[in-house]
């Protein structure tokens, strides 16, 4: 039974907070990639040509149904062999973004499909041009459904960032591990990391639920 | 709510004598409401209701929607709890139980014991979609009353014969029409051999052409058994056929009651006249 040492916690906190900053960066940058790439998938999947939809749906299903950790290893070890060398954080952001884009694609699809058929019909009956139908009628309504769901995936991504430690990104878990490797005391670093995750993700999810109540009527 | 719906003191002039259906000669007193009040927030749905129904009587509750008639059935089924007053079914209180000679609010177990005497048929049938017709009917007799499986199935077959659905015994509710589902629901309620049968707008959710079949079954039951019925319905002809007593509800109170002949032919209360001219 070891004794919890607040002094030790105080010593390691600066390093951990630095790790937290990297974690937050990875989450936010990963989200941007996921939001953009997901939209690409979603629009490609609405294509009338099956020469587009088939390959895209296979890629999306494949990425969605295989472990992010293995995808990260793939990017980390394989890309340099193809002459694409990135620093670990960039590789991690690409991995997170790619993986979660297969989820956001589904969010966009459901958001668009969730707009009632009658809205399309009404837009047609008013002879609204296609572009106008999308920007003035469909997307604003889809937006309300999409935003909270995207937010939930940002939180999920946040909780997946510790995987980046495996490809040497100096985020929270990596920091905790390297501290423990020198002090041989795992209790405080890992406990503090766990607490930091809850302290950030729980209030964020409460905020999202409040936002959702306002947006989804 | 308008002002005249405020909870009134019992014994105010507008209140007629408490409705009583039947006499001791008909058999034991079966259902009694004793100053029962039910509120939803500030809205008083039942206002200090007194009512007595003797065994074997058929009572129809009529009145505009929101007047409290369905509330009476839901109180009797313990789906709602009254704010004030007592409800007695047979010898036992539904809302209270006697402990050491004192009346205390009923426990869940006590409620369950008393409500075994009561069956209910719902507007939306509420058959269990996960059970075939036969099991819908036998499930409660077997697992609540402890009836043997064979005896319960025999009872179910007899009841299905009564409601004319023997050939559908092995189907799921989703494979039946609304009228057929409702007849199964009637059989399911009767399989518990209740003393009181509650019918809550049982034809309101049916397509018009299916209503007659269900009402015929109920007429048959009313005329050939000695089961006590409390019935909320908008089918006035049916009410006329089966009722010993019709009670007119308005704003949580019985404003008039009597035989169907009296209520439908020569109602005394203006509100009753208005209501009947609107629905007949």
């Amino acid at each position: 039974m070891n004794n919890w040492s607040w002094e030790y916690v105080g010593d390691i906190l600066p390093d951990l907070l630095h790790g937290l900053w990297i974690t937050v960066q990875a989450t936010l940058l990963g989200s941007l990639v996921a939001f953009a790439l997901g939209l690409v998938w979603a629009l490609a999947l609405r294509s009338p040509s099956r020469w587009v939809t088939w390959p895209v749906s296979i890629v999306v299903e494949f990425v969605r149904n295989t472990p992010l950790l293995v995808q990260l290893f793939f990017l980390f070890f394989v890309l340099p062999g193809w002459g694409l060398t990135f620093d670990p954080l960039t590789t991690g952001v690409i991995g997170l973004g790619l993986h979660y884009s297969t989820y956001t694609a589904e969010v966009y699809r459901a958001g668009i499909d969730g707009v009632p058929e009658g809205q399309w019909e009404a837009a047609t009956a008013l002879s609204l041009p296609r572009r106008r139908t999308w920007t003035a009628v469909i997307l604003p309504q889809a937006f309300r459904r999409v935003v909270p769901a995207l937010g939930n995936y940002v939180i999920a991504m946040f909780k997946d960032t510790p995987m980046l430690a495996a490809i040497t990104v100096a985020e929270l878990l990596f920091q905790a591990n390297s501290i423990s490797a020198t002090t041989f005391d795992y209790m405080e670093p890992i406990t503090v990391v766990g607490v930091l995750f809850i302290v950030i993700s729980y209030p964020t999810s409460l905020l999202l639920r409040a936002l959702e109540r306002r947006l989804v009527r | 709510m308008s002002d005249d719906s405020n909870p009134t003191q019992p014994g105010q002039p507008a209140q007629p004598a408490p409705p009583t259906v039947g006499t001791a000669e008909d058999g034991p007193e079966l259902v009694r409401f004793d100053r029962v009040t039910k509120r939803f927030g500030a809205h008083t749905v039942l206002d200090s209701l007194d009512m007595t129904v003797y065994s074997g009587k058929h009572v129809t509750l009529i009145g505009p929607s929101g007047s409290g008639k369905t509330t009476i059935l839901r109180l009797l089924m313990t789906l709602l709890k009254p704010e004030e007053g007592k409800i007695k079914v047979g010898d036992a209180y539904l809302t209270h139980e006697e402990k050491n000679g004192k009346l205390v609010p009923a426990s869940e177990k006590h409620c369950r014991e008393v409500r075994k005497n009561i069956g209910m048929v719902f507007q939306q049938f509420n058959l269990f979609p996960n059970m075939k017709v036969l099991r819908n009917i036998t499930e409660a007799p077997v697992h609540v009353l402890g009836l043997g499986k064979d005896a319960a199935e025999e009872r179910a077959r007899g009841l299905l014969d009564l409601v004319g659905l023997t050939q559908h015994i092995d189907k799921y509710p989703s494979q039946l029409s609304g009228g057929q589902q409702q007849r199964v629901a009637i059989a399911r309620a009767l399989a518990m051999r209740p003393q009181v049968l509650l019918l809550d707008e049982v034809t309101s959710a049916l397509d018009p052409e299916l209503v007659a079949g269900v009402l015929d079954v109920l007429r048959d039951i009313a005329h050939t058994t000695d089961i006590t019925m409390l019935c909320v319905t908008h089918e006035m002809n049916f009410a006329r056929d089966i009722s010993d007593c019709v009670m007119m509800f308005d704003q949580g109170r019985v404003i008039e009651f009597g035989t169907p002949e009296k209520i439908f032919s020569e109602p005394e209360n203006d509100r009753t006249r208005e209501f009947l001219s609107a629905v007949l």
Partner: protein, 243 residues
């Protein structure tokens, strides 16, 4: 790729499947226990089960796994790697699963409960004979999602040096140096496992629905219906799914 490497991979697949099954059993137990506790009439039961759910949904599964493996032994409990992995995955995914159970149970029409009351069933009989048989088929698609997420989560156990598929891939990479081939192959192996799991779950869903007289919904070749936030009684699943 030599035969020895394939042997390595299949050993890994075997451990991965074991880890998934053990965690899934634990997660299912937690999901039903906590999920039903959240519909309890007692506020304290609802509150405590709610705390459980929020705690494990707020935690990162990998951090939890590390804590169980590295920190818990300092309190005197030494867990074997496989059990630390099972515990972390089972407790976390059980929390997500409990939301599925709660949502499906609450989505059963209130009238069904009333009908069961009218037939004098006890509360437990109501749950077992009326509510759960109708709720369980609805749980199948979201449980399928969770099972795939759980399968993906088993890869985390490689970081505790458990010899499952991802760990074996690391060994293979170190011995052959052929990263692209090694990771390409195990990604396909994971995909195949996920596909098999999905087919099995679809089969179970069809069975469950047939047993209550309903036809299953049509679906595509690899359909997982992902949870999307929206109005109405919602059954949510993936990590980050809406509560």
């Amino acid at each position: 790729m030599t035969g020895a490497l394939w042997e390595l991979f299949f050993e890994g697949v075997w451990i991965t499947v074991q880890l998934m099954v053990y965690s899934a059993v634990l997660a299912a137990a937690v999901a039903f226990g906590i999920g039903l506790a959240r519909t309890s009439r007692l506020w304290i039961v609802r509150f405590l089960s709610g705390v459980y759910v929020e705690f494990f949904r707020g935690t990162s599964a990998l951090v939890l796994m590390f804590w169980l493996f590295f920190a818990l032994p300092l309190l005197g409990w030494q867990l074997a790697g496989l059990w630390a992995g099972t515990l972390a995955l089972g407790l976390s995914y059980g929390a997500y699963g409990s939301e599925v159970v709660r949502g499906s149970v609450q989505a059963v029409a209130p009238a069904q409960r009333e009908a069961a009351i009218a037939l004098s069933f006890t509360p437990w009989q109501r749950m077992r004979k009326v509510i759960l048989p109708q709720a369980v088929p609805e749980m199948m698609p979201p449980f399928n999602n969770l099972l795939i997420e759980l399968l993906k989560g088993t890869a985390l156990a490689s970081l505790l040096s458990i010899g499952e598929l991802t760990f074996q891939a690391k060994l293979a990479r170190l011995s052959t140096g052929q990263s692209a081939q090694v990771y390409g192959i195990i990604l396909v192996l994971y995909f195949v496992i996920a596909f098999v799991v999905t087919r099995i779950m679809r089969l179970l869903e069809r069975r469950a629905k047939a047993s209550i007289g309903r036809a299953p919904e049509k679906s595509g070749w690899f359909s997982r219906r992902l949870p999307i936030g929206g109005p109405g009684p919602q059954v949510t699943t993936a990590p980050g799914g809406k509560p």
